[in-house]
Amino acid sequence: MKNRTLWTALAAAAAFAFLVAMVISGALPEQRQLVKFEAKGIMKLEPDRISRVELHQGERKAVLLRTSDGNWAVQGGSALSAEMGKKLSLAVQFMNTAGPIRVMEPAELDGTNPRDFGLDQPRLTFTLFADAQPVLGVRFGAHNPEDTAQYMTLDGHQDVILMSRFVGQEWESVAGGVLAK
């Protein structure tokens, strides 16, 4: 084989290899309709494993237990209505599926007034248990100025979380139904 032909073949092979490398290293632009759902909530545990919920609003408190048939009941009391049980299950599920809009770390909170977030006197507090062990303790505070999100903190963490308002609304709806009794 002549030298020139050899060089041409080598150049062609190198160019081909380069295109292959581009295909391997590249990625299609992500299209929203093709994005696979991924639970991005603050609770990694499967929601079905939550068996006990302790709910506080001001001085009022309720303990809710999951029954063997998957429904919920007030500790030492009657079972929740099907609608209220569904709401509670949905609220628990949100902690697994709904991701925070924003997490403000302590360094980012320097110079701010903690009272502004309404977390010193939370609107609602609850703790989730799995197998009698506390899994997650949450405090919900005020809404943000845009009224689209709600400030929230987790037990044992200094961060202030902005969570979509519908999550807190679902919990407040449960609290309104359960603590009114």
Binding site: T5, T8, A9, A11, A12, A14, A15, F16, F18, L19, V20, M22, V23, S25, G26, A27, L28, P29, I101, R102, M104, E108, L109, T112, N113, D116, F117, A142, N144, P145, E146, D147, A149, L162
Partner: protein
């Protein structure tokens, strides 16, 4: 700024891709066409070559799709922040406080925060405070702010709220909050002028064959379908109030009007209306008159216009040297007389414009030409208050009485009219022989909008402040001259296919 940056890695991938495709192409050219194989082997060889070519083509296409790159090559750098906002800040003479509530999660919000902080560092008179409302909710609520990407401008006891992530809107806001009086631009109606409430516009299709507007009424350049709502919106974006004035139902031009805009009247004025217009100018008013083809001023109005130093000719300017696209009656202007209105204006165009004939103005009135057509232009007569067919231009007869040469197209006048009280302020007037250039269909293109706005700014005596253009959203388009269109046609439709054939012939010739 982040929009203007070019990412190096994708650019290197692209250059490598172009090199690799080129190398494979030239390697392919060296493949033997006649192999001296047996017929079966030759068949397999040829199938293999075709298959390899297809694989390479698919690979190259896939590779380039998977390595997308964004480069802002627009001449106007529309994806790059403008310097106009900086000019406004540089000229700031009085203190202004800007409290901007940005959305911390929004890239545009973070970008404008950085830009505003740069603006704040540029001039100590601009006090900039950027606030993340999610971090400081009580401050946001104290301002009554319930949304993000909002700025509160405060100066001399005045407050202005602006919702934007464009620093140019902030710059306009700074000018607005510093403005000590409300400026009202009045649009005259009652003579079939372009309505200020009409936002309809036509799309423009330029082809080698000529110009069209893309709809049924497209054969008429002057059509009731054109409004002037876009100019009205542009004025309102500058903080001007706008209102409609119908002189037939009011004895005079309202005092509140800092400028009276007369955009393409089609029916004649009543003598009393002309008198009201003259009285308005005598009292120091400002007139922006766009008298399009065919409009006939009644005697008193014609006399007033002559006092301002021009007479309206019943002709249309044809400019074979300087025109937009292929229509010689779409006169394009690139050179202007020296004037604050035209200082920063590039190319403008006028779809059917009448020449203005200079006459001696009345004593005490100073008249300045603004722009003219090119030295090759001439005129053709037009019928009064008619419509002009777009396709007429090529066959239009040259006026027998007019020589070839530049024609005056717009003037500015300033001074005191006879009969004005000695203590009354000087009037200002701009007269243009066309109204279409400021209509909805043509305002956003080239520098038409900049010129129309500059004229209004001069008329309301704001010419000293920095002009900040607000964007009028229009479909993206590439403006090409007739010569450029022909060159592209020849290159893509003729030369490119012919070159493929020529290359094939050349390869065959060398290897036969």
């Amino acid at each position: 700024m982040e929009h203007g940056d070019i990412e190096l890695a994708p650019l290197l991938w692209f250059l490598g891709w172009a090199f690799a495709v080129g190398a494979l192409f030239f390697a392919g050219l060296r493949l033997p066409l006649q192999t001296r194989f047996t017929s079966v082997k030759s068949l397999f060889y040829n199938i293999g070559v075709v298959a390899a070519a297809l694989v390479v083509a698919a690979l190259a296409t896939t590779a380039i799709i998977l390595h997308d790159i964004h480069i802002d090559l627009t001449r106007e750098k529309i994806f790059t922040p403008s310097s106009q906002a900086m000019a406004v800040v540089d000229q700031l003479q009085r203190p202004v406080r800007l409290t901007y509530f940005y959305h911390g999660q929004d890239p545009e919000g973070r970008r404008i925060k950085d830009v505003l902080e740069v603006m704040g560092r540029r001039n100590s008179r601009l006090e900039v405070r950027t606030v993340d409302p999610d971090r400081e909710p009580s401050l946001a609520l104290s301002y009554g702010v319930r949304m993000s990407n909002v700025g509160i401008l405060e100066a001399e006891g005045r407050k202005l709220l602006i919702q934007t992530t464009d620093e140019r809107d902030i710059a306009i806001g700074i000018q607005r909050v510093l403005r000590e009086k409300v400026i009202t631009a009045c649009f005259l109606e009652g003579h079939n002028e372009f309505p200020m409430d009409n936002f309809e516009f036509h799309t423009h299709v330029e082809g080698i064959a000529g110009h069209s507007h893309g709809d049924a009424s497209s054969k008429l350049i002057q059509t009731a379908g054109h409004g002037i709502g876009r100019l009205r919106r542009a004025l309102e974006a500058q903080g001007y109030e706008t209102r409609k004035v119908i002189l037939a139902t009011s004895p005079s031009v309202p005092e509140i009007c800092q400028v009276l805009i007369v955009a393409n009247p089609r029916t004649t004025f009543l003598p009393a209306e002309s008198a009201a217009l003259e009285a308005y100018l005598q009292s120091g008013g400002s007139l922006f008159a766009m008298f399009d083809l065919g409009f006939v001023p009644e005697p008193r109005l014609a006399a007033l216009i002559e006092k301002l130093g021009v007479r309206l000719a019943q002709e249309a300017v044809v400019d074979p040297l300087s025109h937009y696209s292929t229509d010689a009656e779409m006169v394009a202007v690139t050179v202007y007389d020296q004037n604050p209105m035209t200082a920063n204006v590039s190319m403008t165009f006028y779809p059917g414009i009448r020449p203005l004939i200079p006459v001696q103005p009345k004593q005490g009135i100073r008249v300045a030409p603004l722009f003219s057509s090119s030295r090759d232009s001439y005129t053709r007569p037009v019928q009064p208050v008619g419509v002009r067919e777009a396709g007429e231009s090529s066959s239009a007869p040259r006026s027998r009485t007019d020589e070839v040469g530049p024609r005056l197209l717009a003037v500015a006048a300033e001074g005191q009219l006879p009969g004005a009280a000695s203590e009354s302020p000087r009037f200002r007037a701009v007269i243009v022989g066309d109204g279409d250039f400021a209509s909805n269909s043509f305002l956003p293109y080239l520098s038409n909008g900049d010129l129309a706005m500059a004229m209004v700014r001069w008329l309301v005596r704001e010419e000293r402040s920095t002009a900040v253009a607000n964007r009028i959203p229009v479909p993206p388009m590439i403006l090409l001259s007739s010569a450029q269109m022909k060159a592209i046609f020849l290159l893509v439709e003729v030369l490119l296919p012919l070159s493929v054939i020529a290359l094939g012939v050349m390869v065959w010739w060398r290897r036969r």
